[in-house]
């Protein structure tokens, strides 16, 4: 097999539909939760997850090892989240115009508003952080990634991850110690009431 033919095959290799559907079903919910923490919006989170899967589908021939799939999805998702809102918007417009992506399902009625309070509070607090710090904290404490893996996913050094973790946590604690929190402590209470 020769140069271009191989390139074509590698570049154009597409996943088996059934296998890919299983992957989407298995990974999409968790990725959506991560994206929601990053961007604070369920609709946008769904868009970003779809974009990550589309990119994975298109790059299937280059992301061959199974263990790389998660890393690729996380990396793609986080970069899209970190990237400015405008780019995500453009991307949506492009996809909507050119593709037959499904319309995101309208979020249903929230079953129990109180049950969402902890996550809402966390999302609100995370939104006060720079996107990079937010990504570090989400990877470290939501995705339970190690310092090394976080650094690999974000393309930075482990020292950066550690310093950003410390800065982010300091900022996060400041939010939870703010007057707004004092005025409505129940809304900001964590599982152990340490806020």
């Amino acid at each position: 097999m020769r140069l271009l033919e191989e390139r074509r095959l590698l570049g154009e290799r597409r996943p088996d539909d059934r296998e890919f559907a299983e992957l989407v079903a298995a990974r999409a919910p968790a990725l959506r939760r991560t994206a929601h923490l990053m961007c604070g919006d369920w609709h946008q989170a769904e868009d970003l997850v779809q974009v990550a899967f589309i990119k994975l589908h298109a790059a299937w021939g280059r992301v061959r090892r199974r263990e790389d799939l998660d890393a690729y999805l996380r990396r793609t998702l986080l970069r899209a989240c970190i990237d400015e809102k405008r780019r995500a918007r453009w991307r949506r417009e492009q996809l909507a115009a050119a593709d037959d992506l499904p319309d995101p399902v309208e979020p249903g009625a929230v079953p129990d508003a109180d049950a969402l309070s902890n996550r809402d509070a966390l999302v609100k607090a995370l939104r006060t952080l720079p996107p990079g710090q937010r990504a570090v904290l989400v990877l470290r404490f939501w995705e339970d990634q190690s310092v090394e893996e976080t650094a690999r996913l974000l393309g930075c050094t482990t020292g950066t991850v550690k310093s950003q973790t410390a800065r982010g946590l300091t900022a996060l604690r400041a939010v939870f110690a703010s007057p707004a929190h004092a005025a409505d402590p129940a809304r900001y209470t964590t599982t152990e009431g340490k806020a």
Partner: protein, 525 residues
């Protein structure tokens, strides 16, 4: 918790870490809106994205006019065989074109419409280019061979460049085997030194740009172009060290085309690559190996010194001389032009070798974003649709950090009547409000670089080095033009140096010039 958490647990941040863990754990398992991802729709979008990446943005063929009178044999059904036509002069000596297949074989190609029979549809221009190259690299015909297994029984067919069988073809590859005495090599394993030479023709060099990410590794490519994608990709899964390409040396020819040359060592062997890129984006590439070029599926060891040809039959200078032959020209019809009304930047305004992003069609704008990563953004939504274009290229080292692939996106934002000046003031305010002064993350030292008066009605630059981003704003009345430079990887992009400021000011001036020029008839200026 990952091991990283353990690292931190032993530090003064232990309490903070526990608190954070509780905070995030408390948000798990909560109810959330229903959502079902449609894998089939995602797959369709993925297929489309793959097609776009492979084939560019497509469009009709513009046609390439043959300028050389040729002897042609009509084969019927609209196909003409140019095999008996004389080839170029010089080292080839005007021999008939069909003879090129004594020295080279057709390996394949790619096209937007799927696999084609390239053995039956070799465009005449490619055959001419090939003959000219062989005329330089083996003028006596003493070393190069077509099929290494022996003379091919069926000869490829040379057809017109606009033959229907070539419609939407994006690339074509041919290759030769080099042996010391021009004899056909024996079966594997190779015992006598032999080399390999690949000739590739691409519709648009931009299709080969951009880093290839795999296993967290950026695949080094010669001159930033995935000319030997298959072999280099194969290295990622093998044990061999990735190639270290020498800095790409570019030369511009009198016709405006550019030749880049580079090489990389593999043990005692060397791969030499040269590319000639025409104004149309067409590219002719040479890849020479002074040892048996490995299959991508079996790249596990460095070349055996015993099988490396000494001295190497290839050199960067030799390839450059061959590609400089004036008889070598573009093979494929160019992609349709972008920026037809000229209101946006030309890629060359940004830097050498910049191009319109081949995978991005025209974009639209509707939201003017003002944020700095530290405070809530102050975007303006619902603007009248504007247009935007994306570019890609390499920003040089020095003033903008290490040389690396970068994208740029110029968009027009059509603000409500009368709000242009105030919006620009607000954008300045938020642009200078960055926090996190010293950290590698966040928007770090957001810096506003003021630009001289006379660039539009108002202009400034927002430098976001640690976000790998630079934004250039130029206002004309109630329209703001913004060009955003972004690096895809986390590499600082800082233009606050004197050289950086000069460059970014030049970009702003060009933005203003293009816009003013394109708007002049409409505004009566």
């Amino acid at each position: 918790m990952g091991e990283g958490a353990g690292d931190m647990r032993n530090t003064e941040h232990t309490e903070e870490m526990d608190w954070a863990r509780d905070l995030f754990d408390g948000a798990r398992g909560e109810a959330e809106p229903f959502w079902g991802a449609d894998a089939a729709a995602i797959s369709r979008a993925g297929d489309r994205r793959r097609r776009l990446r492979t084939a560019g943005t497509g469009g009709g063929l513009l046609g390439l006019v043959a300028v050389t009178t040729a002897v042609a044999v009509t084969l019927g059904a609209g196909t003409t065989d140019f095999g008996s036509a004389p080839g170029p002069g010089g080292g080839w000596g005007g021999r008939k074109l069909q003879d090129v297949f004594r020295y080279a074989q057709v390996d394949g190609g790619s096209g937007a419409l799927g696999q084609k029979d390239f053995s039956q549809h070799v465009p005449r221009s490619a055959a001419v280019d090939l003959a000219a190259l062989i005329g330089h690299l083996d003028p006596a015909g003493a070393h190069l061979l077509g099929s290494p297994a022996g003379p091919a029984r069926e000869q490829p067919r040379i057809v017109g460049d606009r033959d229907s069988g070539l419609k939407d073809t994006m690339s074509l590859a041919m290759s030769s085997t080099w042996t010391a005495d021009g004899s056909y090599p024996g079966p594997a394993p190779v015992t006598e030194p032999e080399g390999r030479l690949s000739y590739s023709f691409f519709k648009n060099a931009d299709l080969l740009r951009g880093p290839v990410l795999s296993h967290g590794t950026v695949l080094p490519e010669p001159c930033g172009l995935a000319v030997d994608f298959d072999v280099h990709f194969g290295m990622l899964s093998g044990d061999a060290a990735l190639p270290h390409w020498s800095p790409c040396r570019y030369t511009t020819l009198s016709d405006g085309s550019r030749i880049g040359t580079t090489s990389a060592a593999y043990g005692t062997g060397t791969e030499t690559v040269a590319v000639r890129i025409f104004d149309t984006g067409n590219m002719v590439a040479l890849s020479g190996w002074d040892f048996p070029r490995p299959d991508s599926s079996d790249w596990t060891v460095a070349p055996d010194p015993k099988t490396v040809v000494k001295p190497s039959p290839w050199s960067e200078a030799g390839f450059q001389a061959a590609l400089s032959d004036p008889q070598i020209g573009p093979v494929f019809a160019p992609l349709p032009p972008r920026n037809a009304d000229g209101k946006f930047l030309d890629p060359a305004d940004i830097g050498p070798y910049w191009v319109y992003d081949p995978n991005q069609g025209p974009l639209t704008t509707g939201e003017f974003v003002m944020d700095n990563g530290c405070t809530p953004d102050h975007s303006i939504f619902g603007l009248a649709p504007g247009s935007a274009l994306q570019y890609q290229g390499m920003l040089p080292g020095g003033f903008a950090g290490p040389e690396s692939p970068t994208t740029a996106l110029e968009g027009e934002y059509r603000l409500p009547a009368g709000t242009g000046p105030a919006t620009m003031r607000a954008a300045r305010t938020y642009a200078s409000g960055g926090c996190d002064q010293a950290a590698p993350f966040g928007f770090s030292k957001d810096t506003v670089i003021e630009l001289p008066a006379g660039i539009g009605d108002d202009a400034f630059v927002e430098d976001q080095p640690q976000m790998s981003r630079v934004r250039v704003y130029v206002r004309f009345g109630d329209t703001v033009l913004e060009t955003v430079f972004s690096r895809p990887s986390v590499q600082p992009l800082d233009v606050t140096s004197a050289a950086g400021r000069t460059w970014v000011q030049g970009v702003a001036r060009k933005m203003a010039e293009h816009w003013a020029s394109a708007s002049a008839p409409a505004t009566g200026k």
